[in-house]
Protein backbone atom coordinates (compact mmCIF):
# COMPACT_ATOMS: atom_id res chain seq x y z
CA UNK A 1 0.00 0.00 0.00
CA UNK A 2 1.08 3.56 -0.60
CA UNK A 3 0.72 5.39 2.69
CA UNK A 4 1.17 9.10 3.46
CA UNK A 5 1.71 9.90 7.14
CA UNK A 6 1.43 13.40 8.60
CA UNK A 7 3.46 14.28 11.70
CA UNK A 8 2.45 17.49 13.52
CA UNK A 9 5.57 17.99 15.62
CA UNK A 10 9.08 18.90 14.63
CA UNK A 11 11.14 15.92 13.49
CA UNK A 12 14.33 17.02 15.28
CA UNK A 13 12.73 17.08 18.74
CA UNK A 14 12.27 13.87 20.69
CA UNK A 15 8.68 13.22 21.69
CA UNK A 16 6.08 10.51 22.04
CA UNK A 17 4.09 11.27 18.90
CA UNK A 18 7.16 11.62 16.72
CA UNK A 19 8.59 8.37 18.10
CA UNK A 20 5.27 6.62 17.46
CA UNK A 21 5.25 7.79 13.83
CA UNK A 22 8.87 6.80 13.25
CA UNK A 23 8.31 3.32 14.71
CA UNK A 24 5.09 2.87 12.74
CA UNK A 25 6.70 4.02 9.49
CA UNK A 26 9.63 1.64 9.94
CA UNK A 27 7.33 -1.28 10.79
CA UNK A 28 5.17 -0.57 7.72
CA UNK A 29 8.23 -0.34 5.48
CA UNK A 30 9.51 -3.64 6.90
CA UNK A 31 6.18 -5.20 5.88
CA UNK A 32 6.66 -3.99 2.32
CA UNK A 33 4.50 -0.87 2.27
CA UNK A 34 5.53 2.32 0.53
CA UNK A 35 5.60 5.08 3.17
CA UNK A 36 6.15 8.82 3.00
CA UNK A 37 6.08 10.96 6.16
CA UNK A 38 5.70 14.74 6.07
CA UNK A 39 6.90 16.56 9.19
CA UNK A 40 7.97 20.03 10.25
CA UNK A 41 11.67 20.15 9.43
CA UNK A 42 14.04 22.50 7.67
CA UNK A 43 15.37 21.55 4.26
CA UNK A 44 18.93 21.19 5.53
CA UNK A 45 17.95 18.90 8.43
CA UNK A 46 19.31 15.39 8.36
CA UNK A 47 16.18 13.34 7.61
CA UNK A 48 15.63 9.62 7.00
CA UNK A 49 14.81 8.81 3.36
CA UNK A 50 11.08 8.33 4.07
CA UNK A 51 10.62 11.79 5.67
CA UNK A 52 9.79 14.98 3.75
CA UNK A 53 10.31 18.37 5.41
CA UNK A 54 7.44 20.88 5.39
CA UNK A 55 9.42 23.87 6.51
CA UNK A 56 10.99 24.98 9.75
CA UNK A 57 8.94 24.51 12.90
CA UNK A 58 8.00 27.44 15.11
CA UNK A 59 7.70 27.06 18.88
CA UNK A 60 4.14 27.95 19.96
CA UNK A 61 2.38 27.58 23.28
CA UNK A 62 -0.58 25.27 22.83
CA UNK A 63 -2.73 23.37 25.30
CA UNK A 64 -0.46 23.96 28.27
CA UNK A 65 2.97 23.38 26.76
CA UNK A 66 5.23 24.74 24.07
CA UNK A 67 5.29 22.63 20.93
CA UNK A 68 7.25 23.07 17.73
CA UNK A 69 4.79 23.10 14.87
CA UNK A 70 4.40 24.22 11.25
CA UNK A 71 1.63 26.31 9.83
CA UNK A 72 1.06 29.22 7.45
CA UNK A 73 0.84 29.56 3.69
CA UNK A 74 4.19 28.03 2.92
CA UNK A 75 3.53 24.85 4.91
CA UNK A 76 -0.01 24.63 3.53
CA UNK A 77 1.34 24.78 -0.03
CA UNK A 78 3.96 22.13 0.70
CA UNK A 79 1.39 19.78 2.25
CA UNK A 80 -0.87 20.28 -0.75
CA UNK A 81 1.90 19.51 -3.18
CA UNK A 82 2.95 16.45 -1.18
CA UNK A 83 -0.61 15.13 -1.30
CA UNK A 84 -0.97 15.89 -5.03
CA UNK A 85 2.34 14.23 -5.94
CA UNK A 86 2.02 11.34 -3.46
CA UNK A 87 -0.85 9.43 -5.11
CA UNK A 88 -1.48 7.68 -1.78
CA UNK A 89 -3.90 4.82 -1.16
CA UNK A 90 -4.49 6.15 2.31
CA UNK A 91 -3.57 9.30 4.23
CA UNK A 92 -2.80 8.83 7.92
CA UNK A 93 -2.95 12.04 9.95
CA UNK A 94 -1.68 12.19 13.52
CA UNK A 95 -3.28 14.64 15.94
CA UNK A 96 -5.67 16.35 13.50
CA UNK A 97 -6.82 18.71 16.26
CA UNK A 98 -3.37 20.22 16.74
CA UNK A 99 -2.85 23.43 14.73
CA UNK A 100 -0.06 22.07 12.60
CA UNK A 101 0.41 19.94 9.50
CA UNK A 102 -2.42 17.58 10.50
CA UNK A 103 -5.10 20.25 10.19
CA UNK A 104 -3.56 21.49 6.96
CA UNK A 105 -3.55 18.00 5.48
CA UNK A 106 -7.17 17.46 6.50
CA UNK A 107 -8.15 20.59 4.59
CA UNK A 108 -6.09 19.81 1.54
CA UNK A 109 -7.06 16.17 0.99
CA UNK A 110 -10.06 14.03 0.21
CA UNK A 111 -10.43 10.28 -0.10
CA UNK A 112 -9.55 7.58 2.44
CA UNK A 113 -8.21 9.47 5.47
CA UNK A 114 -7.37 7.86 8.81
CA UNK A 115 -6.46 9.81 11.94
CA UNK A 116 -4.75 8.82 15.17
CA UNK A 117 -5.46 10.75 18.38
CA UNK A 118 -2.66 10.70 20.96
CA UNK A 119 -3.32 13.45 23.47
CA UNK A 120 -6.05 13.56 26.05
CA UNK A 121 -7.44 16.87 27.18
CA UNK A 122 -10.10 18.24 29.48
CA UNK A 123 -12.72 20.26 27.58
CA UNK A 124 -10.33 22.89 26.37
CA UNK A 125 -11.26 26.48 25.63
CA UNK A 126 -9.12 26.55 22.50
CA UNK A 127 -10.77 23.48 21.09
CA UNK A 128 -14.24 24.76 22.04
CA UNK A 129 -13.68 28.04 20.16
CA UNK A 130 -12.41 26.27 17.08
CA UNK A 131 -14.97 23.48 17.33
CA UNK A 132 -17.09 24.23 14.21
CA UNK A 133 -13.91 24.48 12.16
CA UNK A 134 -12.44 21.27 13.56
CA UNK A 135 -15.75 19.50 13.18
CA UNK A 136 -15.75 19.98 9.43
CA UNK A 137 -12.20 18.64 9.32
CA UNK A 138 -13.18 15.62 11.42
CA UNK A 139 -16.05 14.91 9.03
CA UNK A 140 -13.51 13.97 6.40
CA UNK A 141 -11.99 11.17 8.45
CA UNK A 142 -13.06 7.70 7.35
CA UNK A 143 -11.38 6.01 10.30
CA UNK A 144 -10.39 7.19 13.76
CA UNK A 145 -7.82 5.52 16.03
CA UNK A 146 -7.02 6.37 19.66
CA UNK A 147 -3.81 5.20 21.33
CA UNK A 148 -5.28 5.10 24.83
CA UNK A 149 -8.60 5.05 26.64
CA UNK A 150 -7.92 8.60 27.86
CA UNK A 151 -7.40 9.90 24.32
CA UNK A 152 -10.51 8.10 23.15
CA UNK A 153 -12.57 9.51 26.01
CA UNK A 154 -11.48 13.10 25.35
CA UNK A 155 -12.40 12.87 21.71
CA UNK A 156 -15.73 11.16 22.24
CA UNK A 157 -16.80 13.53 25.01
CA UNK A 158 -16.16 16.62 22.92
CA UNK A 159 -17.05 15.45 19.44
CA UNK A 160 -19.11 12.27 19.81
CA UNK A 161 -18.75 9.20 17.65
CA UNK A 162 -16.37 6.41 18.49
CA UNK A 163 -12.81 5.29 17.74
CA UNK A 164 -10.95 2.05 17.58
CA UNK A 165 -8.20 1.57 20.13
CA UNK A 166 -4.72 0.60 18.97
CA UNK A 167 -2.15 1.18 21.72
CA UNK A 168 1.50 2.08 21.25
CA UNK A 169 3.94 -0.67 20.47
CA UNK A 170 7.38 -1.58 21.71
CA UNK A 171 10.24 -2.27 19.32
CA UNK A 172 11.19 -5.47 21.07
CA UNK A 173 14.52 -5.87 19.27
CA UNK A 174 15.72 -2.47 20.51
CA UNK A 175 15.63 -3.69 24.13
CA UNK A 176 17.21 -7.09 23.65
CA UNK A 177 20.88 -6.14 24.09
CA UNK A 178 22.42 -3.59 26.46
CA UNK A 179 25.28 -3.27 28.95
CA UNK A 180 24.17 -2.91 32.57
CA UNK A 181 24.78 0.55 34.08
CA UNK A 182 28.31 1.09 35.45
CA UNK A 183 28.70 -0.53 38.83
CA UNK A 184 25.43 -2.40 38.47
CA UNK A 185 24.49 -5.75 37.13
CA UNK A 186 22.13 -8.49 37.94
CA UNK A 187 23.74 -9.85 41.11
CA UNK A 188 20.81 -11.69 42.60
CA UNK A 189 19.86 -8.85 44.94
CA UNK A 190 18.72 -5.85 42.88
CA UNK A 191 15.14 -4.66 42.51
CA UNK A 192 14.31 -1.98 39.93
CA UNK A 193 11.56 0.58 39.41
CA UNK A 194 10.91 2.97 36.53
CA UNK A 195 8.28 5.67 36.34
CA UNK A 196 7.15 8.94 37.86
CA UNK A 197 8.17 8.87 41.51
CA UNK A 198 5.59 11.40 42.68
CA UNK A 199 2.55 9.93 40.96
CA UNK A 200 0.57 7.97 43.50
CA UNK A 201 -0.91 5.49 41.03
CA UNK A 202 2.55 4.36 39.92
CA UNK A 203 2.77 2.80 43.38
CA UNK A 204 6.40 3.54 44.28
CA UNK A 205 5.38 4.03 47.94
CA UNK A 206 4.22 0.40 48.11
CA UNK A 207 7.57 -0.79 46.80
CA UNK A 208 9.43 1.38 49.33
CA UNK A 209 7.36 0.00 52.20
CA UNK A 210 8.11 -3.51 51.01
CA UNK A 211 11.80 -2.63 50.77
CA UNK A 212 11.74 -1.52 54.41
CA UNK A 213 10.29 -4.93 55.33
CA UNK A 214 12.89 -6.88 53.34
CA UNK A 215 16.09 -4.88 53.75
CA UNK A 216 16.64 -5.86 57.40
CA UNK A 217 16.85 -9.57 56.80
CA UNK A 218 18.66 -9.20 53.43
CA UNK A 219 21.80 -7.10 53.85
CA UNK A 220 22.68 -7.44 50.15
CA UNK A 221 19.36 -6.10 48.83
CA UNK A 222 19.51 -2.92 46.69
CA UNK A 223 16.89 -0.75 45.03
CA UNK A 224 17.41 1.11 41.74
CA UNK A 225 14.89 3.84 40.90
CA UNK A 226 14.66 5.82 37.65
CA UNK A 227 12.12 8.41 36.56
CA UNK A 228 11.14 12.02 37.08
CA UNK A 229 10.25 13.27 40.56
CA UNK A 230 11.81 14.40 43.84
CA UNK A 231 14.40 12.05 45.35
CA UNK A 232 13.82 13.54 48.81
CA UNK A 233 10.29 12.13 48.93
CA UNK A 234 11.72 8.70 48.25
CA UNK A 235 14.32 8.88 51.04
CA UNK A 236 11.74 10.24 53.47
CA UNK A 237 9.85 6.99 53.11
CA UNK A 238 12.84 4.65 53.47
CA UNK A 239 14.18 3.68 56.92
CA UNK A 240 17.31 5.81 57.56
CA UNK A 241 19.62 2.81 58.01
CA UNK A 242 18.87 1.62 54.47
CA UNK A 243 19.38 4.95 52.68
CA UNK A 244 22.71 3.96 51.13
CA UNK A 245 21.08 0.93 49.51
CA UNK A 246 18.54 2.97 47.58
CA UNK A 247 19.79 4.69 44.41
CA UNK A 248 17.68 7.33 42.68
CA UNK A 249 18.80 8.07 39.11
CA UNK A 250 16.10 10.63 38.30
CA UNK A 251 15.31 11.21 34.62
CA UNK A 252 17.37 8.95 32.37
CA UNK A 253 18.05 8.93 28.64
CA UNK A 254 16.46 6.33 26.38
CA UNK A 255 19.73 4.39 26.21
CA UNK A 256 20.25 4.47 29.98
CA UNK A 257 16.68 3.34 30.49
CA UNK A 258 17.38 0.18 28.51
CA UNK A 259 20.64 -0.32 30.44
CA UNK A 260 18.69 0.09 33.69
CA UNK A 261 16.32 -2.73 32.70
CA UNK A 262 19.40 -4.90 32.15
CA UNK A 263 20.86 -3.97 35.56
CA UNK A 264 18.21 -5.52 37.80
CA UNK A 265 17.20 -9.01 38.89
CA UNK A 266 13.58 -8.19 39.52
CA UNK A 267 11.76 -5.34 37.80
CA UNK A 268 8.83 -4.18 39.90
CA UNK A 269 5.67 -2.49 38.54
CA UNK A 270 3.55 -1.72 41.61
CA UNK A 271 0.94 0.43 39.80
CA UNK A 272 -2.28 0.63 41.76
CA UNK A 273 -4.65 1.37 38.85
CA UNK A 274 -5.01 2.92 35.42
CA UNK A 275 -2.48 1.71 32.86
CA UNK A 276 -4.72 0.42 30.08
CA UNK A 277 -1.53 -1.19 28.85
CA UNK A 278 1.76 -1.08 30.71
CA UNK A 279 4.33 0.16 28.22
CA UNK A 280 6.99 0.11 30.94
CA UNK A 281 6.10 -3.49 31.70
CA UNK A 282 6.39 -4.45 28.04
CA UNK A 283 9.79 -2.72 27.79
CA UNK A 284 11.08 -4.59 30.83
CA UNK A 285 9.83 -7.86 29.36
CA UNK A 286 11.53 -7.09 26.04
CA UNK A 287 14.78 -6.44 27.94
CA UNK A 288 14.65 -9.93 29.38
CA UNK A 289 14.03 -8.76 32.95
CA UNK A 290 12.02 -10.81 35.43
CA UNK A 291 8.88 -8.87 36.20
CA UNK A 292 6.97 -8.59 39.47
CA UNK A 293 3.77 -6.60 39.04
CA UNK A 294 0.60 -5.73 40.92
CA UNK A 295 -2.35 -7.94 39.98
CA UNK A 296 -4.43 -5.20 38.35
CA UNK A 297 -6.39 -6.54 35.33
CA UNK A 298 -4.17 -4.90 32.72
CA UNK A 299 -1.00 -6.43 34.14
CA UNK A 300 -2.55 -9.84 34.69
CA UNK A 301 -3.45 -9.84 31.02
CA UNK A 302 -0.01 -8.75 29.80
CA UNK A 303 1.68 -11.32 32.06
CA UNK A 304 -0.66 -14.14 31.08
CA UNK A 305 -2.04 -14.58 34.62
CA UNK A 306 1.44 -15.05 36.05
CA UNK A 307 2.93 -17.21 33.27
CA UNK A 308 5.31 -14.49 32.08
CA UNK A 309 5.93 -12.67 35.36
CA UNK A 310 5.08 -12.86 39.04
CA UNK A 311 2.09 -11.03 40.53
CA UNK A 312 1.39 -9.65 44.01
CA UNK A 313 -1.79 -8.42 45.68
CA UNK A 314 -2.37 -4.85 44.49
CA UNK A 315 -1.56 -2.21 47.14
CA UNK A 316 -0.16 -4.73 49.65
CA UNK A 317 3.53 -4.15 50.61
CA UNK A 318 3.67 -7.41 52.62
CA UNK A 319 2.55 -9.40 49.58
CA UNK A 320 5.08 -7.59 47.38
CA UNK A 321 7.87 -8.33 49.89
CA UNK A 322 6.91 -12.01 50.06
CA UNK A 323 6.83 -12.44 46.27
CA UNK A 324 10.05 -10.48 45.75
CA UNK A 325 11.87 -12.61 48.35
CA UNK A 326 10.61 -15.81 46.71
CA UNK A 327 11.82 -14.60 43.29
CA UNK A 328 15.23 -13.50 44.56
CA UNK A 329 15.76 -16.92 46.11
CA UNK A 330 14.84 -18.80 42.93
CA UNK A 331 17.16 -17.93 40.02
CA UNK A 332 15.79 -20.77 37.89
CA UNK A 333 12.22 -19.53 38.25
CA UNK A 334 13.43 -16.04 37.35
CA UNK A 335 15.06 -17.32 34.18
CA UNK A 336 11.93 -19.25 33.23
CA UNK A 337 9.63 -16.26 33.74
CA UNK A 338 11.98 -14.01 31.78
CA UNK A 339 12.04 -16.48 28.88
CA UNK A 340 8.22 -16.67 28.88
CA UNK A 341 8.06 -12.87 28.98
CA UNK A 342 10.19 -12.59 25.84
CA UNK A 343 7.64 -14.71 23.99
CA UNK A 344 4.58 -12.96 25.47
CA UNK A 345 5.85 -9.46 24.68
CA UNK A 346 5.71 -10.12 20.96
CA UNK A 347 2.03 -9.36 21.09
CA UNK A 348 3.02 -5.76 21.86
CA UNK A 349 5.74 -5.49 19.26
CA UNK A 350 5.41 -2.78 16.64
CA UNK A 351 4.99 -5.39 13.93
CA UNK A 352 1.71 -6.45 15.59
CA UNK A 353 0.58 -2.86 16.04
CA UNK A 354 1.40 -2.10 12.41
CA UNK A 355 -0.64 -5.13 11.36
CA UNK A 356 -3.68 -3.72 13.19
CA UNK A 357 -3.13 -0.29 11.62
CA UNK A 358 -2.96 -1.90 8.18
CA UNK A 359 -6.32 -3.55 8.91
CA UNK A 360 -7.73 -0.08 9.50
CA UNK A 361 -6.23 1.07 6.19
CA UNK A 362 -7.79 -1.91 4.43
CA UNK A 363 -11.16 -1.20 6.03
CA UNK A 364 -11.31 2.38 4.75
CA UNK A 365 -10.01 1.56 1.26
CA UNK A 366 -12.43 -1.25 0.38
CA UNK A 367 -14.72 -0.88 -2.58
CA UNK A 368 -14.97 2.39 -4.44
CA UNK A 369 -13.14 4.52 -1.90
CA UNK A 370 -10.64 5.62 -4.54
CA UNK A 371 -7.29 7.21 -3.74
CA UNK A 372 -6.22 10.27 -1.80
CA UNK A 373 -6.59 13.40 -3.91
CA UNK A 374 -6.23 17.14 -3.51
CA UNK A 375 -9.41 18.78 -2.32
CA UNK A 376 -9.72 21.95 -4.37
Amino acid sequence: MKVGIVCPYSWDMPGGVKQHIDDLAQALIAQGHDVSVIAPAADDDDLPPYVVGAGRAIPVPYNGSVARMSFGFLSAARVRRWIGDGDFDVLHIHEPLVPSLGVLACWAAKGPIVATFHASWVRSRAIAVAEPLLRSALEKLSGRIAVSDAARKSLVEQFGGDTVLIPNGVTVARYAEAEPLDGWGPDGATIGFLGRMDEERKGLAILLDAFNLLAGERPELKLLIAGPGDAKDVYDRVTRAFHDRVTVLGMVSEADKIRAYHSVDVFCAPNTRGESFGIVLAEAMASGATVLASDIPAFRKVLGEGQAGALFANGDPASLAREAAALLDAPERRAKLAAEALVAVHKYDWSTVARDVVRVYETVTTGGAGRVEEDL
Partner: protein
Protein backbone atom coordinates in the same frame (compact mmCIF):
# COMPACT_ATOMS: atom_id res chain seq x y z
CA UNK B 1 -31.26 55.18 -0.22
CA UNK B 2 -31.47 54.86 -3.97
CA UNK B 3 -33.14 51.86 -5.50
CA UNK B 4 -29.81 50.87 -7.08
CA UNK B 5 -28.31 50.54 -3.59
CA UNK B 6 -31.21 48.36 -2.48
CA UNK B 7 -30.88 46.12 -5.50
CA UNK B 8 -27.12 45.89 -4.90
CA UNK B 9 -27.49 44.92 -1.25
CA UNK B 10 -30.21 42.37 -1.99
CA UNK B 11 -28.03 40.97 -4.74
CA UNK B 12 -25.05 40.59 -2.42
CA UNK B 13 -27.20 38.88 0.22
CA UNK B 14 -28.61 36.48 -2.35
CA UNK B 15 -25.15 35.60 -3.65
CA UNK B 16 -23.79 35.02 -0.12
CA UNK B 17 -26.77 32.87 0.78
CA UNK B 18 -26.35 30.85 -2.40
CA UNK B 19 -22.66 30.28 -1.67
CA UNK B 20 -23.41 29.21 1.89
CA UNK B 21 -26.21 26.85 0.84
CA UNK B 22 -24.15 25.24 -1.87
CA UNK B 23 -21.27 24.77 0.57
CA UNK B 24 -23.63 23.11 3.04
CA UNK B 25 -25.14 20.95 0.31
CA UNK B 26 -21.67 19.93 -0.86
CA UNK B 27 -20.68 19.00 2.66
CA UNK B 28 -23.81 16.92 3.11
CA UNK B 29 -23.22 15.26 -0.24
CA UNK B 30 -19.69 14.34 0.83
CA UNK B 31 -21.07 12.85 4.05
CA UNK B 32 -23.49 10.72 2.06
CA UNK B 33 -20.68 9.41 -0.09
CA UNK B 34 -18.64 8.61 3.00
CA UNK B 35 -21.63 6.86 4.58
CA UNK B 36 -22.18 4.77 1.49
CA UNK B 37 -18.52 3.71 1.37
CA UNK B 38 -18.52 2.90 5.08
CA UNK B 39 -21.64 0.79 4.56
CA UNK B 40 -20.01 -1.10 1.68
CA UNK B 41 -16.95 -1.72 3.76
CA UNK B 42 -19.04 -3.01 6.68
CA UNK B 43 -20.96 -5.38 4.37
CA UNK B 44 -17.68 -6.63 2.92
CA UNK B 45 -16.24 -7.23 6.42
CA UNK B 46 -19.32 -9.14 7.55
CA UNK B 47 -19.34 -11.20 4.39
CA UNK B 48 -15.69 -12.05 4.84
CA UNK B 49 -16.22 -13.11 8.44
CA UNK B 50 -19.08 -15.42 7.43
CA UNK B 51 -16.96 -16.90 4.64
CA UNK B 52 -13.98 -17.61 6.90
CA UNK B 53 -16.28 -19.09 9.57
CA UNK B 54 -17.81 -21.40 6.97
CA UNK B 55 -14.39 -22.36 5.65
CA UNK B 56 -13.21 -23.16 9.17
CA UNK B 57 -16.35 -25.20 9.79
CA UNK B 58 -15.77 -27.21 6.62
CA UNK B 59 -12.02 -27.56 7.05
CA UNK B 60 -12.11 -30.92 8.91
CA UNK B 61 -9.75 -29.32 11.43
CA UNK B 62 -12.45 -29.09 14.11
CA UNK B 63 -14.43 -31.76 15.89
CA UNK B 64 -17.80 -32.47 14.24
CA UNK B 65 -19.91 -30.80 16.93
CA UNK B 66 -17.94 -27.56 16.81
CA UNK B 67 -18.06 -27.62 13.00
CA UNK B 68 -21.80 -27.99 13.05
CA UNK B 69 -22.39 -25.15 15.52
CA UNK B 70 -20.16 -22.85 13.53
CA UNK B 71 -21.59 -23.78 10.13
CA UNK B 72 -25.16 -23.34 11.36
CA UNK B 73 -24.42 -19.92 12.79
CA UNK B 74 -22.56 -18.68 9.71
CA UNK B 75 -25.31 -20.00 7.47
CA UNK B 76 -28.00 -18.26 9.56
CA UNK B 77 -26.12 -14.99 9.22
CA UNK B 78 -25.79 -15.42 5.49
CA UNK B 79 -29.49 -16.10 4.94
CA UNK B 80 -30.75 -13.41 7.33
CA UNK B 81 -33.07 -10.79 5.87
CA UNK B 82 -32.55 -7.08 6.56
CA UNK B 83 -34.58 -7.18 9.78
CA UNK B 84 -32.78 -10.20 11.19
CA UNK B 85 -29.27 -9.25 10.17
CA UNK B 86 -28.21 -7.59 13.42
CA UNK B 87 -29.42 -10.51 15.54
CA UNK B 88 -27.88 -13.15 13.26
CA UNK B 89 -24.48 -11.42 13.12
CA UNK B 90 -24.50 -11.04 16.92
CA UNK B 91 -25.20 -14.75 17.19
CA UNK B 92 -22.25 -15.48 14.94
CA UNK B 93 -20.02 -13.37 17.23
CA UNK B 94 -21.22 -15.35 20.24
CA UNK B 95 -20.64 -18.66 18.46
CA UNK B 96 -17.15 -17.62 17.40
CA UNK B 97 -16.34 -16.74 21.02
CA UNK B 98 -17.59 -20.12 22.21
CA UNK B 99 -15.59 -21.92 19.51
CA UNK B 100 -12.29 -20.03 19.63
CA UNK B 101 -12.16 -19.69 23.40
CA UNK B 102 -12.20 -23.45 23.89
CA UNK B 103 -9.20 -24.55 25.88
CA UNK B 104 -6.03 -24.85 23.76
CA UNK B 105 -8.06 -24.15 20.59
CA UNK B 106 -5.36 -22.05 18.92
CA UNK B 107 -2.55 -24.48 19.73
CA UNK B 108 -4.54 -27.46 18.51
CA UNK B 109 -5.44 -25.74 15.27
CA UNK B 110 -1.89 -24.55 14.68
CA UNK B 111 -0.69 -28.17 14.77
CA UNK B 112 -2.71 -29.09 11.67
CA UNK B 113 -1.52 -28.03 8.21
CA UNK B 114 -3.25 -24.85 7.12
CA UNK B 115 -4.70 -24.32 10.58
CA UNK B 116 -2.46 -21.40 11.51
CA UNK B 117 -3.24 -19.55 8.28
CA UNK B 118 -6.97 -20.05 8.75
CA UNK B 119 -6.78 -18.83 12.33
CA UNK B 120 -4.96 -15.67 11.24
CA UNK B 121 -7.51 -15.08 8.52
CA UNK B 122 -10.32 -15.40 11.05
CA UNK B 123 -8.58 -13.01 13.42
CA UNK B 124 -8.24 -10.40 10.66
CA UNK B 125 -11.87 -10.86 9.62
CA UNK B 126 -13.11 -10.46 13.20
CA UNK B 127 -11.01 -7.33 13.75
CA UNK B 128 -12.23 -5.76 10.52
CA UNK B 129 -15.86 -6.23 11.53
CA UNK B 130 -15.13 -4.28 14.73
CA UNK B 131 -13.28 -1.53 12.85
CA UNK B 132 -15.69 -1.14 9.97
CA UNK B 133 -18.73 -1.07 12.25
CA UNK B 134 -17.23 1.71 14.39
CA UNK B 135 -16.42 3.72 11.28
CA UNK B 136 -19.86 3.10 9.80
CA UNK B 137 -21.67 4.17 12.97
CA UNK B 138 -19.48 7.27 13.11
CA UNK B 139 -20.54 8.13 9.58
CA UNK B 140 -24.18 7.53 10.50
CA UNK B 141 -23.84 9.85 13.51
CA UNK B 142 -22.42 12.82 11.62
CA UNK B 143 -24.76 12.36 8.66
CA UNK B 144 -27.76 12.33 10.98
CA UNK B 145 -26.61 15.53 12.65
CA UNK B 146 -26.11 17.19 9.28
CA UNK B 147 -29.51 16.06 7.96
CA UNK B 148 -31.27 17.34 11.05
CA UNK B 149 -29.94 20.86 10.59
CA UNK B 150 -32.61 23.48 10.07
CA UNK B 151 -31.32 24.52 6.65
CA UNK B 152 -31.03 20.94 5.41
CA UNK B 153 -34.60 20.17 6.48
CA UNK B 154 -36.20 23.30 5.06
CA UNK B 155 -34.41 23.10 1.71
CA UNK B 156 -34.50 19.28 1.60
CA UNK B 157 -30.76 19.23 0.94
CA UNK B 158 -30.67 15.51 1.64
CA UNK B 159 -32.98 14.87 -1.30
CA UNK B 160 -34.58 11.45 -1.18
CA UNK B 161 -31.89 9.72 0.87
CA UNK B 162 -33.18 7.82 3.88
CA UNK B 163 -32.48 8.80 7.44
CA UNK B 164 -29.48 6.53 8.19
CA UNK B 165 -29.69 3.84 10.86
CA UNK B 166 -26.94 2.69 13.22
CA UNK B 167 -25.84 -0.92 12.90
CA UNK B 168 -25.95 -2.30 16.43
CA UNK B 169 -24.51 -5.74 17.01
CA UNK B 170 -22.43 -7.60 19.55
CA UNK B 171 -19.09 -7.85 17.75
CA UNK B 172 -16.84 -8.57 20.72
CA UNK B 173 -14.00 -10.76 19.49
CA UNK B 174 -13.03 -14.02 21.19
CA UNK B 175 -10.78 -13.52 24.22
CA UNK B 176 -7.84 -15.06 22.35
CA UNK B 177 -8.17 -12.49 19.56
CA UNK B 178 -9.01 -9.41 21.61
CA UNK B 179 -6.85 -6.45 20.69
CA UNK B 180 -8.49 -3.73 22.76
Amino acid sequence: MTSIMVVLIVGIVVVLAAVYISWRAGRLDRLHIRLELAGESLSAALMRRRAVALELAGSRLLDPATSLVLAASAHEARMAGPDERERAESDLSRTLRAVVDQERFGEKLAESPGGQALLEELEAAVAKVVYSRRFYNNAVGVTRTAQRRWLARVLRLAGHTEYPQFFEIDDNPPEAMATE
